[in-house]
């Protein structure tokens, strides 16, 4: 049986069709592998395509379906994994040369849950090295191109994940978000990405960047697709001590629950000078649409927003400098060719193996944690973090969900910002606060610039308020057709 036209196919439809025998899992896999072979040379989404593994999994699923088994809610759905999720027996690099050739002896909880739900892993997706970046230009291998305009970045750090879903090279994908790394690339690529509440999705088997801020989450073409993936990967995991032991919400059902009577907060600090005018217009039109859908729009304030970027970069670099200490050339990864002492082995291995951005962040993190500077920098950042989180608590006393732009700008050109790290950091202004507070936040498309670049709308909920976020995102999607637009295949 032929697989359906995959361009724009909804993951939920693909799963239903496979389960109903309309096409086989193998057909789906072959069609996606064919698209990847044709198009990914131009896009650079995949670091590794596991065709053999995907075909084997698909055949096993088809056999189980033929035997009348229920193979799970994601029956035969081909997905991609950001190369930060460790995969048993399949090379995992976190986009870094220092992990080139690393074959994990275990599997991440999130990817294991996808597999148990019937999804098929097509391969590992490109990313900024150790998830450090906002453009995917920090991949140690090659950059990713935005499917809407190949001269533009896809965003980062989960740029390969977002671009692959936008270009229909996989039906859904997993990424991670530490300061915006799911939401900003979702925004730049015109798809849906959600960073759930901290602890909602297990970090077990997710290579650590900044442990108190790292959030695994899904990408989908539609809000229902993202909801379907999140329902599968969320939930308590004893292997992650910060995992929340609470039942998973009904995210898919929430997408169609409507928003009559909901209060949508608009934080004034997210609508100040500096936003691109096309982004501002699109977000204001989206707010008006949400008003027509039955929500009331409430002005609110998040007064410590101005401290969010500095706070974020202090905490994430401090944690990164500690987490990345494990790459020392002894147990796994790159090891320098010759070293006379253990000290020299560490320093040479790390100097050779890390790219410019991890080095910059390790250095900054080591600096701010140094005796004598600790309280002035890291200690201050932890206090600022509480004030930023308290802002959200106060705002959610007045509203159910906050709606903001995801990024002040649409996708920028490759190379345009690569030489100035501070410029790159400042563009994270609207995405860094939710991970500091641990609250869930989703990005979806709310329009296009005159030049044809997607614009992202961010919905932020209270802790464990994913259902409220999906209600708002689903209501907006139900009244608009941005999610049905597809980029042209690169020729």
């Amino acid at each position: 049986m032929p697989a359906p036209d995959l361009r724009g196919a909804a993951l939920t439809e693909l799963a239903a069709g496979t389960a109903a025998g309309k096409w086989s899992a193998r057909d789906l896999v072959e069609t996606y592998l064919e698209r990847i072979a044709q198009l990914d040379k131009k896009l650079g989404c995949f670091l590794l395509v596991d065709g053999e593994g995907a075909r084997k999994t698909a055949d096993a699923i088809d056999k189980r379906l033929a035997a009348g088994e229920n193979v799970g809610p994601l029956a035969g759905v081909p997905v991609g994994l950001k190369d930060i999720f460790v995969t048993r027996g399949l090379e995992t690099t976190a986009g870094s040369k220092i992990l080139k050739g690393f074959i994990p002896p275990y599997e991440s909880t999130a990817s294991a849950r996808l597999a148990a739900a019937g999804a098929i892993r097509l391969g590992k997706l490109n990313m900024d090295e150790f998830a450090m970046g906002s453009s995917n230009e920090n991949s140690a291998y090659y950059p990713v191109h935005n499917p809407w305009n190949l001269d533009r970045v896809p965003g980062g750090s989960s740029g390969g994940s977002a671009a692959a879903v936008a270009a229909s090279l996989c039906a859904g994908a997993l990424g991670t978000d530490t300061g915006g790394s799911i939401r900003q690339p979702a925004s730049f690529c015109g798809i849906v990405g959600i960073k759930p509440t901290y602890g909602r999705v297990s970090r077990y088997g997710v290579i650590a960047f900044a442990s108190s801020l790292d959030h695994p989450g899904p990408f989908g073409r539609t809000v229902e697709d993202a909801a379907a993936l999140l329902e599968v990967i969320a939930g308590h995991d004893p292997m992650d001590s910060t995992s929340i032991p609470r039942p998973v919400g009904r995210y898919r059902a929430a997408c169609t629950a409507g928003i009559t009577g909901m209060r949508i907060g608009v934080p004034k600090e997210y609508f100040q000078a500096g936003m691109d005018s096309e982004v501002e217009n699109a977000v204001n039109l989206a707010l008006a649409e949400l008003g027509r859908a039955g929500a009331s729009i409430v002005p609110v304030s998040l007064p410590h927003t101005q401290y969010a970027i500095a706070t974020y970069y202090l905490i994430c670099t401090a944690e990164a400098s500690s987490n990345l200490a494990r790459y020392d050339g002894i147990r796994f990864g790159h090891r320098t060719a010759s070293a006379a002492s253990l000290e020299e082995l560490y320093a040479k291995t790390r100097g050779e193996g890390f790219g410019a951005e991890p080095k910059r962040r390790i250095m900054l993190g080591t600096y701010v944690l140094r005796a004598g500077y600790y309280e002035a920098y890291y200690g201050k950042a932890l206090r600022a973090r509480r004030l930023i989180a308290d802002d959200f608590t106060a705002a959610f006393a007045q509203c159910d969900v906050l709606v903001t732009p995801t990024s002040p700008i649409p996708a920028f050109k490759l190379g345009e910002r690569a030489q100035d790290p501070l410029q790159m950091y400042l563009a994270d202004i609207y995405t860094v606060a939710p991970p500091l507070a641990g609250v869930p936040a989703l990005s979806q498309c709310c329009g296009f610039t005159a030049a044809g670049l997607p614009i992202g709308l961010q919905s932020i909920g209270p802790p464990l308020g994913e259902e409220a976020v999906f209600r708002v995102a689903g209501a907006y999607q139900g009244r608009t057709d941005w999610h049905t637009r597809l980029p042209r295949d690169p020729s």
Binding site: P105, D276, H304, Q306, Y367, V368, A384, L387, K413, P463
Partner: protein, 123 residues
């Protein structure tokens, strides 16, 4: 390009911070010292570039220094967190072969490192 307005804004914000950095916040010697603490071998060009970049970033990060937060408790976890406990029981773990499979150098059932103590067979 679309977004030029915000780029100008961001450039002006960055420029303001660069301009405010009248005195140098970090010197090349400090960068070398940090590199030793971080176990990172950096070449002279990297030291020079990092000195400049960290100086600019630290200038911006100083925004947070002005915040009056002395009475605020530090926040180390995004969600309320009590370290969960479980019985101390032996469970499944990696075999020695699995644990060693990615080691760049190994010797019998051990990870191999340069000698750290003097002894027979060389320093």
């Amino acid at each position: 390009m679309p977004g030029c307005k915000s780029q100008e804004f961001q450039s002006s914000v960055a420029q303001e911070w660069y301009n405010r950095v009248q005195m140098t916040r970090i010197t090349a010697d400090e960068v070398r010292e940090i590199a030793v603490l971080a176990r990172l071998r950096l070449d002279p060009a990297e030291i020079e570039r990092l000195t400049h970049e960290l100086d600019g970033i630290l200038g911006y990060i100083d925004t947070v220094k002005g915040l009056d937060a002395a009475q605020v408790l530090p926040m180390t976890h995004a969600v309320p967190f009590d370290c969960p406990v479980r019985p101390d029981e032996v469970g499944a773990s990696l075999s020695i072969a699995e644990a060693l499979q990615n080691a760049p150098r190994r010797h019998a059932s051990s990870f191999e490192v340069p000698r750290i103590l003097p002894g027979p067979g060389g320093a």
